[in-house]
């Protein structure tokens, strides 16, 4: 499966490189190196498929933690969408509260206090003390 994915990726890169000049041997263009790398990836992918018996099958790999993984992935996606809209403190507090209360089933007040304290503390440390600018969102929170 991994070999096939690499082959597919290589083909996509080759297709997408059509729009860029390949150049010549003497004066390689912007597509020269990506095309060479995509061809190499194609070769590696094909070899992995050919030697496929040595690679673990996707279904044989344990996926017991998939629910947690999907929830964490979703929280990260929410954070990426909300970070500049809601601001660092609100986004992080909401993300942590969701993970602690809903995913990890911790107590409501514990989750709330920890989430708010962490978000406020991290903002104070990085933004206020270390002068790393963090987003405040549309409401300036």
């Amino acid at each position: 499966m991994a070999g096939a994915a690499l082959v597919a990726l290589a083909l996509v890169v080759l297709w997408e490189s059509r729009a860029l000049p390949l150049g010549s041997l003497r004066n390689p263009g912007p597509a020269y190196m990506p095309v060479a790398l995509a061809l190499a990836l194609l070769g590696f992918g094909a070899l992995l498929i050919a030697l496929g018996k040595r690679t673990p099958d996707v279904s044989s790999v344990g996926w017991t933690e998939w629910r947690h993984a999907v929830a964490i992935f979703g929280v990260c996606a929410f954070a990426a969408l909300a970070l500049e809209r809601l601001g660092f403190r609100v986004t992080i507090a909401l993300s942590l509260a969701f993970l602690l209360r809903v995913v990890e089933r911790k107590g409501a007040s514990f989750s709330l206090v920890l989430s708010i304290a962490f978000a406020a503390g991290a903002f104070l440390l990085f933004d206020t003390l270390l002068r790393v600018p963090l987003p405040r969102g549309a409401l300036g929170l």
């Binding site: 690499l6 390689p28 912007p30 990836l41 996707v58 964490i72 990890e104 920890l114």
Partner: protein
């Protein structure tokens, strides 16, 4: 030699100034915390804390980041010995005998031997770095684009060869990293490549979101749903002193680990991980009582711990002298230096002697700080491990988001981290190493520039790489490695890399 000593005095005058000392101390403390926390290795740790150094001048920032690096290497041993959970990958071998010693009531002795071994190895390897980097930099002044191209290609081939498991897979991952490094504006023609209208991608994919995604987020995705970690064994302070016999048993393993670690550290690859595996194997082979390995052998802690700390300094040699990172962690350090306007390479030592020698001297100081920190404060660090992982990982995740966003103040980097996290999770499940991807991303612009400049120099003749002695030699070594990597396919036998992969897998399952 007199010049080296004179420069070292200059370095110590910088490193012992109170502000630099403070940042070395802070780096070591934070690094130890990073090493202790499961899921945050030195790579993700340095990446995450990079934005915190933006307000500092280059010397302070680099001293602090280096402190985080070797602090994390020290800290990783604590969780290995007390919980049988490697804080970072290089501590995997320490888990075996360190935890066995802890279960016999010798946790304190194991921690003390790991700390002293790390101190000796760390200090001795800085001497090696100090003596080797300047002549290597002088030699590198003879390098032109073809030599750099050959060196960078060799670096990737060595990394692929040194990776545990299949060389083919590692090469595929390095190629994937190089392809990711192609995204952004072409430096020679100004064309936008594969950025699909996303302006932020014009500068290319940053190494920080890639590293944090592949190492930090992927680790959280893979481990958050697993059962709670085992109980922490708490050592009493009075148990800290090893017996005379334990000191005797650890002296030679520390010496051998130091030399092995430094030599392996110079070579590209995940040096600190490989060095600890090699050291463990060597100690078991040389031991008069090999049956004790796995049951709490002192040499099984002393050797690997010394080796991985020595490799940490060794890895700085090619980075500082040639400007070529030998693995993912030096690659992130290189990126961090560039953020602060420092360009490591042959000219660094000549043009910024204060920074170079201050950095070297701060490593001596850092090793002393770590020795002082690690033994008496082990109880404090262990308390962090008492925080249940379901509470700890959301906080680590929040730091990942913060750290990645703060580098460029860009949400696009958070998305990149997210995609890399998912990719790293899948690749990890399928048995692929992700370190070559990080190195590929960093090396891609350098390799492309060197290749195109070489071809422009030679009027499109690829023979330029073979007619120049240094590049021909480097590529010849690369060819030998490929041949060695192909050998198990032909003979259908397990080579050392396959055995290493089996050992790693076995340890994960235990």
């Amino acid at each position: 030699m007199a010049e080296t000593l004179h420069n070292l005095v200059l370095g110590f005058s910088i490193a012992l100034s109170p502000p630099i000392l403070l940042y070395a101390f802070v780096g070591c403390v934070v690094g130890t915390l990073v090493g202790v926390l499961p899921g945050v290795g030195p790579l993700a740790g340095i990446s995450l804390l990079l934005p915190a150094t933006f307000g500092l001048d280059a010397t302070r920032a680099i001293v602090m980041l280096a402190g985080i690096y070797y602090g994390a290497m020290y800290g990783g041993s604590t969780t290995s010995i007390l919980m049988r959970i490697p804080g970072e990958a290089a501590s995997v071998m320490t888990c075996i005998d360190g935890y066995a010693m802890a279960r016999k009531g010798r946790a304190g002795a194991a921690l003390a031997i790991a700390a002293v071994g790390s101190y000796v190895a760390g200090t001795a390897s800085v001497v090696g770095l100090m003596l080797l980097a300047p002549p290597l930099a002088l030699f590198a002044l003879r390098f032109g684009p073809p030599e750099y191209f050959a060196l960078l290609v060799l670096g990737l081939l060595v990394l692929a060869y040194m990776s545990s498991g299949s060389m083919l897979r590692a090469l595929a991952m390095a190629t994937l990293g190089l392809l990711l490094g192609m995204i952004g504006i072409d430096q020679m023609t100004g064309y936008f490549r594969y950025s699909y209208g996303v302006v932020e991608l014009g500068d290319g994919i940053g190494v920080v979101p890639v590293a944090v995604g592949l190492f930090g987020l992927a680790e959280i995705l893979a481990t958050a749903g697993l059962p709670t970690p085992p109980q922490v064994l708490r050592p009493a302070l009075r148990e800290l002193l090893p017996t005379r016999q334990e000191w005797r048993d650890s002296a030679w393993p520390i010496a051998r680990g130091t030399v092995l670690g430094f030599l392996i550290g110079i070579v590209p690859g995940s040096a600190h991980i490989i060095s600890s595996f090699v050291s463990y194997g060597v100690e078991r082979r040389l031991s008069k009582r090999p049956e004790e390995f796995g049951q709490g052998a002192v040499a099984g802690v002393a050797g690997p711990e010394s080796a991985n700390n020595s490799a940490t300094s060794g890895a700085f040699v090619p980075m500082l002298a040639l400007g070529v990172p030998s693995g993912p962690i030096p690659a992130v350090m290189l990126a961090a230096m560039m953020v602060h306007g420092v360009s490591p390479g042959p000219l660094l030592i000549r043009e910024q002697p204060g920074l170079f020698w201050g950095f070297i001297a701060s490593m001596y100081v850092g090793n002393v700080v770590l020795l002082i920190l690690n033994l008496p404060l082990v109880g404090v660090f262990v308390n962090i491990l008492r925080v249940p992982y379901p509470i700890l990982y959301p906080s680590i995740l929040a730091f990942c988001i913060l750290g990645v966003y703060a580098v460029n103040g860009s949400v696009v980097d958070v998305w990149i981290m997210l995609l890399m996290g998912a990719l790293g999770y899948l690749l990890r499940k399928l048995g692929f190493e992700t370190a070559p991807i990080v190195l590929g991303v960093v090396l891609a612009p350098m390799i492309e520039m060197a290749l195109r400049q070489s071809l422009a120099m030679s009027d499109g003749q690829y023979a330029i790489f073979l007619t120049r002695p240094i590049s021909a030699t480097l590529l010849g070594v690369g060819l030998v490695l490929i041949t060695l990597g192909l050998k198990p396919l032909v003979t259908r036998s397990l080579d050392w890399r396959a055995r290493l992969a089996l050992a790693e897998k076995g340890d994960e399952q235990r």
